[in-house]
């Protein structure tokens, strides 16, 4: 077909003209489509026409003469000569053209350069495609980029997730992209409506992670940052968020050691233990301000970032030496309001409880004669109150451990105001009566957009938690229950309390001994004003006042036990009742001001951050108590004896002022460089030593952007990272009273020698006189502990990021550790802390991930592994620090387990006679200790290191899959090596007149079981030969645990559409369901080190829940 180009008005560039001349019209149109389609410029163009019966062709020529516009069409178009009437009086050209082509088979299209193409309607008209983009939960996603594949022609979804795009006839597919999701390419075909559900990508190259005072694309990171999604947290039905972090990322160790409601949080450690004296807790920031991770509502969490190396954490300077955890709460997206309700209800059960032998076996192993046992056996049946056979554990663990969680949130808004608000409630019971934890959370995160230049974040959040426990400590209750012989009564047949062991009855203490209630309120407001005077430059100012108060009411009640069943004599236990109440309040001012600047030009990217911050903390507490309540139902101080009234109070304060900055430079997103610096000044040091500067430098090389790697076609990502930096530790005393680790120096003023008032009183004339003493030697020279970290990292992605791998190696050296180095006792003062010790942690973090989508089937796996070696490298020449059963000495890990080394079991008297002197008179079956110094006797000098309590080779494997409405995820978590020392009632038989566990009978030495690992069952007490801290009692607590299994089903939309529910998911979730370990029966591998058995075991739990969206 011959085509003639006519009236092609000279274009400015002759080359184009020539090109156009040789092209088929259809191709030209396609080509032109890469030009900017434009309508704006034509709005100014007007024409004057008054023609009748003129051909379109002529009319167009007239218009060309009146304006700069040039028309482009083919003479082949028959209809171009069609005659028309047009009348226009200074009318806009577009409306004139619309008139002209109204009834024509032709139409037009406007382009830049005043070019208008005329072509047949079917050729020029583009296909219109509309649709809605949602996330996997059916929530509309605004801001999704929709482009015609291979072009820049595109649209963005609106607040309802809707888009509307015109696509050229020959366009084959649309590509949908959105941050944090897997990009999708959908074939258009004949479709005019394409709805898309975006699936989250685990390791999308576009993923943005939260870093200190900002965000960064993950591919551009040079430091070591791990990221945990909120969905990974909420999947686990735990009330303490720290517990949900167990096993999720390499390098973060979360150790939960108790199942007590409210106290079942995990101790968090990032890359080992760096300090000896000061805190080892990471800095936890919630929306940029220090806080407690355990008091926030898990559903509010959008994202958690873990800053592991100095490059990532140095921007937090003196508080960051133990790593930083950044918790970001959810913010609203523009769109119509959506209401979400989610819940779970479930039941908890201990993962393990010791099993004890009954009364008859107990008597047998205690050496009673058969006649006594026979008499007792008859008595158990005829008079169980006089001949008890008490299963103490069963009497104590009576409850079903019910727990429930409810969360209601509402989210949405417009461009100018949007907010997310939530209220949640968690109620966690326990298997022991009178233990309970309740927490109420509320959050209101609002984003206001005042103008293009100013926006404001305005957040309020509160939390109220109520932890209830019996008055007697958990330690007391469980210790009594795990040691009181079955031959003592817990509860008599008439319901009265048995006397237990000399009045100590753990069951009675739990049920009737009064209560210990801790109430904690927390309130925080956040206002952040962001001002962006010009593109790329942003200022923000944040002020966060935070208020905490705590109220403790501890009422120790008396209960009456029957001392002797025959005579019914009674006693009151404890011998008097006491109510103590305590109130504490703290207030923290957090202020920071930031300036950030980003600029990209050509291949260069620059970013700079400058900041100022201050934190001021104030704390006050007071308490009062009375004793001797005649009517113990009235739990108020006034009901107690006025003569016993006591009160107390104290206060403290601290401050931190900081300046910091960051510089980033990237070339072609290929070579990445970052530098951080922070200067901190703390009130905790004398004015001369107050300020320290913490720098860090890091770099990255994205080899995958190099052509020689690209050409391999193997890697979707390949990056090398290296960093170095210094961090400080000023947590000599924990900033925040609810954090658990209060380290050495109970003062916020460790450099001053204060005179303590009220702790050294005396009685004159039977009245208390206040005393004052100086008890610590002053050392005004102390300064920060410094941690220096070097990190090497490798990130690899294969197969379009479906397979990803990250490996990191680090060396973390803590210097100038604040230690109370011994001073002569002669001085009569406790040693001041000094900057003395050095500790080194070397470790490896590794993670491997796989994620893929096969039609309706999405699945993924994430494996992580980390290992760290801890070593004390310097204690300033001062000898080992021995603290109970632990030793800290140069060359060994901090707090190594310290005791005797077992040399086996004495098999006969001859072996005893030959052996070095042990403890007391020995019999075959006793433990033999190794005489380390060969002096022929075993004493404290023969103790050696017998274990390292820090977990080694921690790993986690998270598997998930979804198919149509079904989803399943399974978390495994484990530790390859951990030494745990157990003693006393935890593992020793008949210790201090305690009882015997069933495994003792099987695994302890007897003349018939001479190969046993454990000694003979034999009454022991402190000082007995077999009741010594020795390697026999150091167990390998390695384990593999099925941490969580969640199985859910999302009801199809077709079923829901009649009940105005947007989405509905029902699920089952189980925590700690199975555990594989080597420990004796009934001992959980998380049993804390040095445990004597008196703990609240970790729970497994079973839950069902729903998640509804309206």
């Amino acid at each position: 077909m011959k085509k003639k180009l006519q009236n092609l008005i000279p274009l400015s560039k002759p080359g184009i003209k020539k090109l156009l001349l040789t092209m088929k019209l259809s191709l030209i149109i396609v080509f032109l489509s890469v030009l900017q389609v434009s309508a704006n410029m034509y709005s100014q163009i007007t024409v004057n026409l008054d023609v009748q019966d003129k051909s379109i062709c002529d009319v167009l020529k007239t218009i060309e003469q009146q304006s700069q516009v040039r028309f482009f069409y083919s003479d082949d178009l028959l209809v171009i000569d069609e005659l028309i009437d047009v009348k226009a009086d200074n009318k806009n050209i577009i409306s004139v053209l619309d008139d002209i082509f109204l009834k024509s088979q032709l139409t037009y299209k406007t382009y830049d350069n005043n070019l208008i193409v005329i072509a047949p309607r079917e050729l020029l008209q583009q296909q219109k495609v509309t649709g809605t983009v949602t996330d996997k939960d059916g929530v509309p996603l605004p801001g999704v980029n929709v482009v015609v594949t291979g072009t820049t022609q595109g649209a963005i979804t609106d607040i309802a997730g809707k888009y509307n795009i015109e696509v050229p006839q020959d366009a084959r597919s649309l590509t949908f992209t959105f941050v944090g999701t897997v990009s999708q390419e959908i074939t258009i075909g004949t479709l005019t409506q394409i709805n898309v559900t975006m699936a989250e990508s685990a390791i999308g190259l576009d993923e943005v992670v939260v870093i200190g005072y900002g965000t960064q694309k993950k591919v551009n990171l040079t430091g070591s940052v791990e990221s945990i999604k909120g969905t990974q947290i909420i999947k686990q039905p735990v009330s303490q968020t720290s517990q949900a972090l167990v096993g999720l990322t390499p390098g973060l160790t979360a150790i939960q050691s108790s199942g007590q409601p409210g106290m079942d949080y995990s101790t968090l450690r990032i890359r080992g233990t760096g300090s000896i004296g000061a805190s080892n807790d990471p800095l936890i920031l919630i929306d940029g301000v220090a806080g407690n991770i355990n008091i926030i509502n898990p559903s509010d969490i959008d994202d958690i970032s873990i800053l592991k190396d100095a490059a990532a954490a140095a921007i937090y300077g003196s508080r960051a030496s133990n790593g930083v955890i950044l918790v970001t709460t959810k913010r609203a997206k523009t769109g119509k309001l959506s209401i979400n309700y989610s819940n779970y209800i479930g039941w908890q059960k201990p993962t393990g409880l010791p099993k004890f032998v009954g009364a008859l076996d107990f008597l047998k192993y205690s050496g009673e004669s058969q006649a006594v046992i026979d008499e007792y056996a008859a008595g158990i049946i005829s008079n169980p109150d006089l001949y008890p056979d008490t299963d103490w554990v069963k009497e104590l663990f009576t409850e079903n451990g019910f727990q429930q969680y409810h969360n209601m949130s509402i989210s949405g808004g417009t461009e100018s105001i949007k907010s997310v608000a939530s209220i949640s409630f968690v109620d966690q019971g326990a298997n022991i009566i009178n233990f309970n934890y309740k927490r109420y959370n509320g959050r209101f995160n609002t984003d206001l957009k005042l103008s293009d230049k100013i926006d404001i974040n305005f957040d309020l959040s509160f939390s109220r938690s109520l932890t209830k426990a019996p008055s007697a400590s958990l330690t007391y209750i469980t210790r009594e229950v795990f040691r009181d012989p079955p031959t003592c009564s817990a509860i008599h047949s008439d319901g009265s309390w048995g006397d237990g062991w000399q009045g100590q009855n753990g069951v009675a203490a739990a049920r009737a001994g009064g209560s210990n209630t801790q109430l904690s309120n927390y309130f925080r407001g956040v206002i952040r004003i962001n001002y962006s005077p010009i593109k790329d430059l942003k200022f923000s100012v944040l002020y966060t006042p935070e208020y905490n108060d705590g109220y403790n009411s501890h009422f120790s009640k008396m209960y009456q036990t029957i001392v002797d069943w025959t005579t019914k004599t009674t006693r009151n236990y404890p011998s008097r009742n006491t109510l103590s109440q305590r109130n504490e309040q703290s207030f923290t001012h957090n202020f920071n001001a930031l300036a950030t600047y980003n600029k990209t030009f050509n291949n260069h990217y620059f970013a700079a951050l400058l900041g100022y911050e201050f934190i001021k903390y104030e704390y006050v507490t007071f308490g009062a108590s009375r004793q001797d309540f005649i009517l113990q139902d009235f739990e108020v101080l006034n009901a107690g004896s006025a003569a016993t009234a006591l009160n107390s109070g104290s206060a403290t304060q601290s401050g931190l002022v900081s300046y910091f900055g960051r510089l980033n430079y990237a070339f072609k997103e290929k070579y990445l460089i970052e530098a951080n610096v922070r200067s901190d000044a703390s009130s905790r040091f004398a004015s001369g030593n107050r300020v320290s500067v913490f720098p860090s430098f890091s770099g990255g090389w994205r080899l995958s952007e190099e052509s020689f790697i690209k050409d391999l076609g193997l890697f979707s990502n390949l990056k090398l990272r290296a960093s170095w930096g210094q961090l400080g530790n000023q947590q000599i005393r924990s900033d925040i009273p609810y954090e658990s680790s209060i380290a050495i120096g109970s003062s916020d003023f460790p450099y001053a020698s204060s005179i303590a008032i009220g702790s050294s009183n005396f009685l004159f004339n039977n009245a208390i006189n206040t005393g004052a003493i100086q008890s610590v030697l002053a050392n005004s020279a102390i300064k920060w502990e410094t941690t220096e970290t070097t990190n090497l990292g490798l990130d690899v992605g294969f197969l379009k990021q479906r397979l990803t791998l990250t490996a990191e190696y680090y060396i973390r050296k803590t210097k100038d550790i604040l230690l109370p180095l011994p001073i002569p006792l002669v001085m009569g003062l406790s040693p001041s802390i000094q900057n003395a010790g050095d500790v080194e942690n070397k470790g490896l973090d590794f993670s491997l991930g796989w994620r893929d989508v096969k039609g309706d089937f999405t699945y993924g796996a994430q494996l992580n592994f980390s290992d760290v070696k801890n070593k004390v490298t310097n204690l300033s020449g001062v000898g080992p620090i021995i603290s109970g059963n632990y030793i800290t000495e140069v060359g060994s890990p901090i707090g190594s387990i310290y005791g005797y080394e077992s040399a086996g079991i004495f098999q006969n008297q001859a072996a005893i006679d030959e052996a070095p002197t042990q403890f007391g008179t020995l019999i075959p079956g006793n433990i033999q200790y190794k005489d380390q110094n060969g002096d022929g006797k075993i004493n404290s000098d023969d103790r050696v290191i017998i274990g390292d309590p820090f977990p080694k080779m921690s790993y986690g494997l998270n598997l998930d899959a979804s198919y149509k409405g079904f989803d399943l995820s399974v978390y495994f978590q484990g530790v390859g090596k951990r030494d745990v020392l157990l003693h006393q009632d935890a593992v020793w038989a008949l210790f201090n007149a305690g009882k015997i566990q069933e495994w003792h009978v099987r695994e302890f030495w007897s003349p018939e079981n001479t190969a046993a690992q454990f000694p003979i069952i034999y009454a022991t007490s402190s000082g007995s030969n077999d009741a010594q801290i020795c390697s026999t009692w150091v167990f390998n607590a390695s384990y593999l645990r099925v941490r969580n299994i969640s199985f859910g089903y999302t009801i199809p939309k077709s079923v829901l559409k009649n009940i105005s529910v947007n989405s509905l998911r029902v699920y089952f979730s189980g925590q700690n369901l199975f555990t594989f370990d080597n420990l004796p029966e009934g001992i959980d591998p998380l049993m804390p080190n040095n445990s004597n058995g008196s703990i609240f075991p970790v729970n497994k739990n079973f839950n069902i829940g729903v998640d509804v969206q309206f």
């Binding site: 000399q502 000044a681 020698s753 005393g771 006792l825």
Partner: protein
């Protein structure tokens, strides 16, 4: 924005220049009389130390000497001879006394800042009280450890604190001088708990006696005796009641470790109290303590004709039953019985109460030798099964001053009527009669030094039992090597048929050769330090300097000498 940053920046000083809200700092303290009084109270506070819930001196007697037995107190290792330089007890004790010394030195050194603003009398009195307590701490320190570093100033750096050991005798000189000086500035009477002239002089007498300065001991004791009337001292007529609630604040008690509900309670019920009352009886008297009380004719039981082993608690020095709960005696409203066959016990009116937890067979390990201390075992609390008490613990009482006087005079060979009178006043009081009523009690009449030495040692053993004197007595008399490494016996099991009497030597040492069979040997291995007591005479007269202190010194390159054989 910049303005905000600058405004806030100007406040940096307000954020960083903070002071403690609760406590003053040492640089500005000791500025006025109120602050001196606070600090002085802090010095007094250094007298307070409990072990197993009671005054630690009781632990010394029960864990570390022949008169008692203990399970779980800090001095058990001294009884078993198992102490070493790393035994925590000694680091703890060593540190305890130096903390007290440090507080006193801090006050004594820094109070000079106020010299011109406080009335001299007041100033000197505060100084005297601190000097007395400083001497008191050195007294214990030197008795436990022998030569120790002497410090009478505030060391401002660890290096200044690396002091070598000073001979005990030199420290004694300082103590005696300080107490002499203190006595001048102290009043005759003061509120209870407060140091008076009599306290300073009484302690001076004790320290002089323990250091073999007999003349000074006698003189200081005499000085206290001279102010007996003026200061209101005397012997409380009821010896048993003296250590119960009735005796609190009596004229005999001169210096105390005070106990009061809401301040510090004595949890006597655990180590001393009856198991039937909820206690544990883990500190208890031995059979040899029981056998050490004279017969009521004033003779040791192996010499007395009126002592009947089948009725071992009859015809005895009344202090036996006043100090100890003996079998079949009434205690806290019930009849105490520890015999292994007595599985039940009865109330005072004879009704059966229930299973007898004071019997080892019913509740192992109940009172190990079959007796309980009555002294400081607050009977009024026990009778309501209350395990805590407010009875003050006596640190110095007038009877001890009399005993010091007598012993010092005996040892220095200046035996006269005043010596006999001092001893006899105590013996007469035990019988509840006047010293002149010599027909009603076994008065001492001999003037023979050897005889009197025997008597005064017996007298100290029984009069001061369970008050924390025995440990230093058996050491300064050098009899520990004899009395300590022995088997501990329990009570006679078959009293009605008992015929044998143990032997008692000149030092009051009771031996059981040939008579073991009638006593409760209690061979249960579960209580090992009850059976096997050790004493290494080359080593155990002194306690070990704590290894940690030697290590601290060596960390600074300085050697601190250890006591022999440790």
């Amino acid at each position: 924005m910049l303005l905000i940053a600058l405004t806030v920046g100007a406040c940096d000083k307000q954020i960083l220049d903070l002071n403690s809200l609760t406590e003053p700092v040492s640089t500005t303290f000791f500025a006025n009389e109120n602050e001196l009084n606070l600090a002085l109270t802090g010095v007094y506070n250094s007298l307070i130390r409990t072990d197993y819930g009671v005054a630690y001196q009781m632990g010394m007697d029960n864990g570390g000497t022949d008169i008692g037995i203990s399970r779980g107190c800090a001095f058990d290792n001294l009884g078993a001879g198992s102490q070493s330089a790393s035994t925590g007890t000694f680091q703890s004790l060593y540190s305890f006394y130096y903390i007290g010394l440090g507080r006193a030195n801090n006050l004594l050194q820094n109070m000079q800042r106020t010299k011109n603003i406080i009335a001299e009398e007041r100033y000197m009195k505060i100084r005297a009280e601190a000097l007395t307590i400083r001497a008191y701490n050195y007294h214990y320190l030197t008795e436990f450890f022998g030569d120790v570093p002497y410090i009478n100033f505030v060391a401002s750096s660890p290096e200044e604190g690396l002091l070598p050991r000073t001979a005990k005798s030199i420290i004694a000189d300082s103590m005696l001088a300080d107490l002499q000086a203190a006595a001048v500035s102290l009043p005759l009477k003061a509120e209870s708990g407060r140091i008076t002239q009599g306290v300073a002089l009484g302690l001076r007498a004790r320290i002089a006696l323990y250091n073999g300065r007999f003349a000074e001991a006698a003189a200081s004791a005499k000085a206290v005796m001279d102010i007996e009337e003026a200061a209101g001292y005397g012997l409380y007529p009821d010896y048993e009641g003296l250590f119960q609630r009735a005796g609190e604040g009596s004229s005999e008690i001169m210096f105390i470790m005070p106990f009061k509900d809401g301040f510090l309670t004595s949890n006597f019920g655990y180590p001393l109290g009856s198991r039937n009352c909820g206690g544990y009886t883990t500190m208890a008297p031995t059979q040899s303590m029981v056998d050490s009380y004279e017969a009521s004719d004033g003779l040791p039981i192996d010499e007395s004709v009126i002592y009947d082993p089948s009725k071992p608690f009859e015809n005895r020095d009344p202090r036996l039953k006043a100090s100890l709960v003996t079998p079949q005696s009434i205690w806290a409203g019930f009849i105490y019985e520890s015999h292994p066959d007595s599985l039940t016990y009865r109330s005072v009116n004879g009704t059966l109460v229930g299973a007898n937890k004071d019997c080892r067979k019913a509740s192992w390990p109940a009172s190990f030798c079959g007796y309980m201390w009555k002294k400081y075992d607050d009977e009024a609390s026990q009778s309501i099964k209350q395990l805590w008490s407010e009875i003050d613990f006596s640190l110095l009482r007038y009877a001890e001053v009399l005993l010091i006087y007598a012993e010092a005079k005996i040892e220095s060979g200046q035996i006269d009527e005043s010596v006999l009178n001092a001893i006899n006043r105590i013996r007469a009081r035990a019988y509840g009669v006047d010293v002149t009523n010599t027909g009603s009690y076994p008065a001492v009449t001999t003037m023979n030094q050897t005889e009197l030495r025997k008597i005064i040692r017996r007298e100290r053993k029984v009069e001061l039992a369970n008050e924390g004197f025995r440990m230093f007595d058996i050491r300064r008399w050098r009899i520990a090597e004899k009395v300590m490494p022995v088997t501990i016996y329990g009570r006679i099991l078959d009293e009605k048929n008992a015929t044998l009497v143990p032997q008692i030597d000149d030092d009051g040492f009771v031996t059981y050769a040939g008579v073991e069979s009638q006593y409760d040997l209690n061979t249960d291995q579960r209580f090992p330090n009850a059976q096997n007591r050790q004493f290494n005479k080359l080593r155990d007269y002194l306690c070990p300097i704590p290894q940690s202190e030697i290590d601290t010194y060596s960390g600074f390159g300085v050697t601190l000498e250890q006591n022999p054989e440790y």
